[in-house]
Symmetry: C3
Subunit: 273 residues, 3 copies
Amino acid sequence: MFAAILENVRKTCPLIHNITNYVTVNDCANIVLACGASPIMADDKEEVEEITTICSGLNINIGTLNSRTIASMLLAGKKANALNHPVILDPVGAGASRLRTETAYQLLEEVKFAVIRGNISEIKTLASGSGTTKGVDADVADKATEENLDEVVAFAKAFAEKTGAVVAITGAIDIVADKEKAYCIRNGHPMMSSITGTGCQLSAMTAAFVTANPDHPLEAAAAAVCAMGLAGEIAHERLTPLDGNSTYRNYIIDAIYHLSPEQLEKGANYEMR
Amino acid sequence: MFAAILENVRKTCPLIHNITNYVTVNDCANIVLACGASPIMADDKEEVEEITTICSGLNINIGTLNSRTIASMLLAGKKANALNHPVILDPVGAGASRLRTETAYQLLEEVKFAVIRGNISEIKTLASGSGTTKGVDADVADKATEENLDEVVAFAKAFAEKTGAVVAITGAIDIVADKEKAYCIRNGHPMMSSITGTGCQLSAMTAAFVTANPDHPLEAAAAAVCAMGLAGEIAHERLTPLDGNSTYRNYIIDAIYHLSPEQLEKGANYEMR
Amino acid sequence: MFAAILENVRKTCPLIHNITNYVTVNDCANIVLACGASPIMADDKEEVEEITTICSGLNINIGTLNSRTIASMLLAGKKANALNHPVILDPVGAGASRLRTETAYQLLEEVKFAVIRGNISEIKTLASGSGTTKGVDADVADKATEENLDEVVAFAKAFAEKTGAVVAITGAIDIVADKEKAYCIRNGHPMMSSITGTGCQLSAMTAAFVTANPDHPLEAAAAAVCAMGLAGEIAHERLTPLDGNSTYRNYIIDAIYHLSPEQLEKGANYEMR
C-alpha cells in the first residue's frame, strides 16, 4: 500500500501550506518538493486564510514561535478545517516553555488535526495537559524501546482516540497510531539526530502524504515516516569517510527525491501492534 | 557583452541590500557571494534606510511578507530611488493573496524599479492590476512556449514600457525585455523547478549584475538570467545517479562561483525579438 | 589543552540557546550539532527566559535584528547572567546602522558577556562607543596583518579588560584575547569569506566550547576559532575543481563533525602574544 501512497503524492502534486520555523524552513520546502508535492510558506495573519484556501493541506510547526505567528496558526488551522483540508501539527519544543506548551494546547482545542507528530517528550506534554476531564496517562518512559514498546503503543492509541488524530511518535523506534492500530517502524539511522530539522522535514512531508491520500491518514503518515527513515538509511550508505552531518542532510533529501514507490514498499520496516 | 557584465560584478564587488523571505535567504546570500558581489540582509524599518545607503543596490522580495517588513520595503525602496541605486522587485506569490498582490501594487506605485522578475503568473497579476488608466493587456497564456512567444514578448515589452523597468519573466523560456527589445533565453534545466528558491536566487543575483552595470540594465538582467540557466545546465551534468534536488541546489551555486566570463558569453543561449 | 576542550564538548553535549539571524540560522544549528552540542533557537520575549534556563549557554547574534528580538536578547542575556551561564555576543553589522550599533552598546551595558566575537570593524565600533569615561583607543587598522599585529593585540586586550569578556577578532589572522594573554591564530582559508555565515557559525560553536569549559573561556574560545579555521583547511582540501562556495559550506560543517581532539590539538596554528 505504501507504494500507492507515494504514487498518489507524485500524481496529484498537492500544494502544502507551511507555517513553520525559520531554522529548518528551507529544508522543509526542499523535501516537500523532493517527494513530489509543492510547498508554500506564508505566516502573516493577513494572508494565511487565503493561502490555505488555494492549498490542499496545512502543516503547522511551532518552532521559533512568536505572538505574530500564533494568531496565524489558529486562523489557518480553522480555515483548513472548514475546507476539510488535513492539518498536521508539529509541537516542536512543547514542554520547553509555557509559550510553546500553551500554544500547542490552544491549537489542540481550536483546530482538528489529521496528524500530530513529535518526539515522545513533546507528545507526552500534549497528552498530559490538554483537556482535563479525559486525560491520557502520559506516564510513559522517555524513549520507546523494545522493552516498553507495548506501553508506548497503548499511550499513542489513547492519545489518538482522545484527539481524533493520527499520532506519530518518532525516535529510535517510531510509532504511528490511530485509536485501533499502530505501526511500529524500525527504519532510520542514529546519525539522523545529528542534523537539525529531520523532524520538521518529516512533518512537512507527512502533510504532503496525508493530503494526497485523504482516505488513509494512518497509512499515509506511516508511509511518510518509513520514507524518511529509509532515506536516512540510503543516504547513510552513500557517505564517504569525510562526509558529516551537512552532507548527510543533503543526501537524505536527495534520497527522497529518488525514492521509488517500489523501494518504499520493499524497504519499509514495520510491524503492526 | 555578457562577459564584460560578469567581469564588472567581480571587479566592483557591489554590496547588495536584500529584504527577502526567510525560506531561501541563505541561498540568496550564497549566490550573491558566488557571483562576486556581497550581500547584506536587513529588514527592520529602523535600519533599512541606513543599510541601503551603504549599499549600491537593493533587492526586494515579497515572499513570507508581513506587516513589519512591508513598511521596510517601502522605506528602503524610496531611499534607494533617492540615491539612484537600482532596485529589483521579486513579487513572489503576487496573485496568491490580497496581501501580496496589494503590496506589489503599492511597491510599483511608490518605488521605481530597475528590474521586475517573476514567473508569468506573478507578472500578469502586476500588469493587470497596477494603475488603471493605461492598463497592460495581461490576457496572455500561463506559460511562454514556442507557439505564443511573440505574444508574451509583446506583453513583457508593454509592461516594461508602462513601468519603466526591465521585465524578466522566467519559465521554460525566459523573456527579459525593455520597451523595445527582448531577450528570449533558452538556458536552464527542468529539474531547477524541483529546488526551492531558484527564482529568489536569480533576483538577488540580478540585483548584483544590474548594480555593477548601471548603464545597461537590460543586458545585465539578461546576463543574470543566462548565468542562472547556464549554472543549472553545468550543475545538472555533474549529478550522479543518487544526487537529487538538494545536491543540485549546491551545485548550481557552485557553478555560479566558477562561472567564467567566457563561459557565460559562450554558453548564453538567446535570441532577440 | 585544545584536545581536552573539544572532548568536554562531546562529553557534556551542552544545550545552547541561540537568538540569531534568519540568514545563517540553519548552518548555526548544524555546526553546533557537528561539534557535539545541541542547539535551541527561540527568540520570543515570552519564552526566552525559560529557554535560557533549560540551556547551559547563550549565543546572541544581532544580524537581521528587529525591535521584537532586541527585547528578547536583553531578557535572555540577563537571565543567563543570573544563572551564571556564559553568554556570547556576535555584533553582526555593528557600525553599519544606528540600530545595530546602539543595540550592541545596550547589550554591553546590560549583559555581561563571556566572549565577544566579531570582525575588526565591528569590535572597533563597540570599543569606541560603549561607555565614555574609560574608552578604548579604537584607532587600530582595519585589518590585522603581520605588521600591525602587536597593535591589534593591544587593542583586543584593552577591550577585554574593559568589558571583562574574552575578545575574539577574526580575519586573516584571528586574535583571541583576555586582558593578559592573546592567541594569534593562523588557521583558515581565504575562501571561507565566500560563504555567508562562517562568522555566525563560529560564534554559535564558541558558545558550545565555552559552555563546556566554563573555567577556561579564553582557551575554549581560542580552541573554537582554531577548530573553525582548521575545518576550513580540511574542507578546502576536499574540494574538486567544480566545487564552489556551497559545497565548501557543507564540507566545513562536515569537517567539524569529524574533527578529532587530536586533530585539533595538532592542527591548531597559533602563537601567544
